[in-house]
């Protein structure tokens, strides 16, 4: 197992190098002169020449890539063109905001999705199965922004139960430590604040988690149905075990692999693709950060944002791969 994990970590190296080549290429694939593009059309020749000198654009590409990698290794993601501040210090709070939101969205999606899938498979063709699968179909098809707006309308505007946007109450900012606000509030032992932060998380988590929930529910159901036809499940029944043991011990574990794959992929999608949700809920996450950077043509930020999101995507898939071998002893790489 340890050998496998080590091997898997080593395999990460070429993947990471590939990622940096692609993000490095972004700046150079922009048609025309990058310095010109960055500075805009009205820039003077001297300014462009200065910037080219500063960015090392006069060097050959391999040398430029070498500089880029060296900077990355030192944790230097460059400077934002818009705010003129270090990207590495700007990006973490936003990444933490997105990770926190993704975590709660996936907890919601997995808990509801897996259980709905199990019960649907258990009571196949029952009214529950029918309703749950219809709900899942609606969940997959529903536009996220519409769901988000409806949530705000009903639960924030009309009922006033939950805050409509932001991560915390304005005018009372938290002193961030990890930038995971739930964690930070707990570290400060500030439980009322933790509750407030959690309340802020509910609506965006549901909006973001609905599509993964629906996909997970459908995958769990079909995977469970397939497993429940198998010979070893018949053996378990023939041993005299009840439905609960059959389903939650044997069938669920055997049905987990495809579900886990979907969970991994969906988590990755949420990390990078939460721009709509983050915009509607004014969530200061990485999706919005990159989105704004695109608007301002802030190339270093776009580059770093993509790199960081891709990095987490790879890490999540690594975790999923490791979980495979933990669940299924037959899987050896």
């Amino acid at each position: 197992m340890t050998a496998y994990i080590m091997r898997r970590l080593l395999q990460l190296i070429p993947v990471l190098i590939g990622m940096t080549i692609i993000t490095f290429a972004i700046v150079h694939l922009i048609p025309g002169n990058p310095a010109q593009t960055i500075l805009g059309e009205t820039a003077s020749q001297e300014a462009i020449a200065d910037l080219e000198e500063n960015m090392g654009l006069n060097e050959p590409y391999p040398v430029q890539y070498g500089f880029y990698i060296t900077d990355l290794m030192q944790g230097d993601l460059g400077t934002s063109l818009r705010t003129k501040s270090e990207i590495s210090s700007e990006i973490w709070p936003r990444l933490a905001a997105t990770l926190e939101l993704t975590f709660f969205a996936m907890v919601f999606a997995i808990f509801i999705g897996v259980n709905a899938g199990i019960i649907s498979a258990w009571k196949q063709n029952s009214w529950f199965d029918f309703l749950a699968m219809m709900f899942a179909l609606v969940g997959v098809s529903m536009p996220v922004f519409w769901l988000a707006l409806m949530e705000q309308l009903v639960f924030a505007q009309e009922l006033g139960w939950l805050p409509a946007f932001g991560r915390e109450l304005s005018g009372d900012p938290i002193a961030p430590i990890t930038h995971f606000y739930v964690l930070d509030s707990l570290i400060h032992l500030d439980f009322p604040r933790a509750l407030t932060v959690l309340k802020h998380l509910i609506l965006p988590s549901i909006a973001l988690g609905t599509i993964p929930m629906a996909i997970i529910a459908r995958m769990t159901r079909s995977s469970m149905l397939e497993v429940m036809q198998s010979d070893y499940i018949r053996t378990v029944r023939a041993k005299g075990s009840g439905q609960f043991l059959v389903i939650y011990k044997h069938a669920l574990k055997n049905a987990t692999i495809p579900v886990l794959t979907v969970i991994g992929l969906q988590t990755g999608v949420l990390l990078g693709g939460a721009i709509l949700t983050e915009t509607i809920f004014s969530w200061p996450g990485i999706g919005r950060y990159v989105f704004e950077a695109i608007n301002y043509r802030d190339y270093p930020v776009i580059q770093s944002g993509i790199l960081v999101i891709a990095f987490f995507f790879v890490i999540i898939n690594l975790i999923v791969d490791i979980l495979y071998t933990y669940i299924d002893p037959r899987i050896k790489y």
Partner: protein, 338 residues
């Protein structure tokens, strides 16, 4: 013989499919006595597996359902038994092993885990006790290094070893009846012989009755005391193994035995019964085998033959046994109507 362990009376298990009702088991009656090995023989699709699953009430429902008859296990009719009662019986009083040892064990749990689970479902023993007993059982079924194998996963064992594990698991609670659904079909011939030996030993030592489902008359000859031949969801002949193999009565059984390869036979081509097994369907009239039978006459197509009782407790579902037909073997009398 007395001491009946299992008695099926006119059992009907039907499948309700989109294309209609299918009587997979169509009025099967048979008995298994204490300590006896009864073979149920027939071609694929004759209803022998569904019969065995019906006893355990493991027929997939939907689409399958027991629609009539009795399954008497030691004077208790299991057709009406509650789910709770069936859970007590399965694996404890009646155990079952299956055709496919490769897929019959859960691939994600260690052998020990699966055996201990089975024992602890029925007996209040500690995990350690159950584990010790599992190791003993594995030794009993001839698994070398039993104390290591118990911590193996199924994929680390061969097919024969897995079937031994299945047998060990089935014997864990000393069942009175073991249902073996083609336990040797998927195995090599040498392993087959070992598994049959093992089952016979268990039968002798623990006095466990065995209901052995097979399509292999060689297996029957090897191990069974008595044989029940099934065709298209019905019992068509029953008797002791020796008599049935030596002097089959029903034309179908005769055909089955003729199609066995014979060492003395010089012919190149093996005999086969012409035609195929009819698909079971509702409301069929006449002998099920008549369309393939070389002895068939008009009556075979117009009436359902009863199970004619012959000497020595034998029976056969063929009009040739009807005295009024004045036939070759006309010495029977009707016992079970149809």
């Amino acid at each position: 013989m007395s001491d009946i362990v299992l008695e099926l009376k006119d059992l009907h298990t039907h499948f309700f499919t989109d294309s209609g009702e299918v009587p997979a088991v169509d009025g099967v009656s048979l008995t298994v006595n204490k300590g006896e090995v009864v073979g149920i023989v027939g071609e694929s699709g004759c209803g022998k597996s569904v019969t065995s699953l019906s006893v355990m009430q493991l027929v997939p429902n939907p689409p399958g359902r027991i629609v009539g008859g009795e399954i008497n296990f030691k004077d208790e009719n299991l057709v009406n038994a509650s789910n709770k009662r069936m859970k007590q019986i399965r694996g404890n009083e009646i155990a079952m092993i299956f055709q496919e040892p490769m897929t019959s064990l859960d691939p994600l749990f260690k052998i020990g885990n699966q055996m201990v689970e089975g024992i602890r479902l029925h007996e209040k023993v500690s995990k350690q006790e159950a584990r010790n007993r599992s190791i003993e059982l594995l030794k009993l079924v001839g698994i070398p290094r039993a104390d290591e194998v118990i911590d193996d996963y199924p994929h680390q064992l061969s097919g024969g070893m897995r079937q031994r594990v299945m047998i060990a698991m089935s014997m864990a609670c000393n069942p009175e009846l073991l249902i073996a659904d083609e336990p040797t079909t998927a195995l090599d011939v040498t392993i087959q012989a070992q598994i049959l030996d093992l089952m016979r030993n268990l039968n002798k030592e623990k006095d466990t009755a065995i209901m052995l489902i097979t399509h292999d008359l060689g297996v029957v000859a090897e191990i069974c005391d008595r044989v029940v031949v099934m065709y298209a969801g019905q019992v068509i002949e029953e008797g002791t193994t020796r008599e049935i193999l030596k002097a089959p009565n029903h034309p179908y059984t005769k055909g089955l035995i003729r199609s066995l390869p014979n060492m003395k036979q010089k012919e190149q081509k093996l005999y086969s019964i012409p035609g195929t097994v009819p698909k079971p369907k509702m409301g069929r009239i006449g002998c099920r085998f008549a369309p393939r039978c070389e002895f068939a006459f008009d009556r075979c197509f117009q009436e359902d033959p009863a199970l004619y009782q012959l000497e020595n407790g034998r029976s056969s579902r063929c009009f040739l046994n009807d005295k009024t037909e004045g036939s070759l073997t006309g010495n029977g009398e009707t016992i079970v109507g149809n």
